[in-house]
């Protein structure tokens, strides 16, 4: 069983959509996981958890879209992801989640 950390900040409105998407993709790929949901409420907590923005999903401790270490700031903010066509979106795509889940199950 995979261990997944789902971190969110309430100021970003679509974290529930992201969590639903994560569960949907888990079902699609036939994997079971223990999902730990963490609400990040302060900048101090964001620093402590190395939280680059909401939503953040870590599969077996690995961010599904690792942020650029040189540019990342750990704070209460919404996170930008990129769609395959390059456009910015506030949510990770199903493909991004799927690839991260499958990568985590590779030997």
């Amino acid at each position: 069983m995979l261990t997944i950390d789902f971190l969110y900040y309430e100021g970003c409105p679509s974290h529930d959509v992201a969590l639903d998407r994560l569960n949907t993709v888990l079902d699609e790929v036939g994997l079971s996981a223990q999902i730990h949901v963490t609400k990040v409420e302060t900048d101090e907590q964001a620093q402590e958890l190395r939280f680059p923005g909401s939503p953040t999903i870590r599969v077996e401790g690995q961010d599904i879209d690792p942020p650029d270490a040189a540019q990342v700031a750990y704070t209460l903010t919404c996170r930008a992801y990129r769609r395959p066509d390059g456009r910015i979106t506030p949510l990770p795509t199903a493909d991004l989640i799927r690839q991260a889940l499958l990568a985590a199950t590779q030997p």
Partner: protein
């Protein structure tokens, strides 16, 4: 603000380093004030659609004004230099202003970025809320709330939808 309320006036500078106020666009039939910013991914997802709407309706009597009220000390990517860069990057075709005191955002009751307030020719609020119903994928939009409201005003009709929940990042208060 709620539909039926009168426009709250302002005079703010922005990326053009010159004051802009709604009175500068008194010849326009419809005026949208949008609280926006640089860093928010919801804004970034929608901003090309904002540019498209301004381009599509500019000659028909519409003007958009964007206001950034975020605290640039907490969010440096929302400072004026970054705003100027973003305006160039996306070909922003409407004023992009700074609400340094955050007084205008508070007066409007704005909470999110992006959050749209659309006024008619008498500068009465006729629509408040989101641009459309799909920030992720423009090709999957079902309801073009802001466009529909603009078209209604330009045709002398009342928008069929007056409010939708604004969707986006919270404004970063000082």
């Amino acid at each position: 603000m709620k539909p039926g309320d009168a426009l709250i006036d302002f005079s703010l500078s922005g990326v053009e380093d010159a004051p802009v106020s709604p009175a500068d666009f008194s010849d326009k039939t419809a005026l949208a004030v949008v609280f926006s910013c640089n860093h928010c991914p919801y804004v970034r997802a929608w901003e090309s659609r904002m540019v498209e709407i301004q381009a599509q309706y500019a000659d028909k009597g519409f003007q958009m004004i964007a206001i950034n009220a975020n605290d640039p000390l907490k969010y440096p990517s929302d400072n004026l230099d970054a705003m100027k860069e973003r305006a160039v990057e996306i070909g922003m075709n409407f004023p992009y202003l700074v609400d340094e005191t955050q007084d205008i955002a508070r007066a409007y009751g704005a909470e999110r970025t992006p959050e749209f307030f659309l006024f008619d020719q008498d500068r009465v609020l006729r629509y408040h809320g989101a641009l459309d119903d799909n920030y992720e994928d423009p090709s999957s939009v079902s309801h073009t709330y802001l466009k529909d409201a603009i078209e209604a005003l330009l045709e002398g009709r009342a928008p069929s939808t007056e409010t939708t929940p604004p969707v986006g990042c919270t404004i970063k208060w000082k």
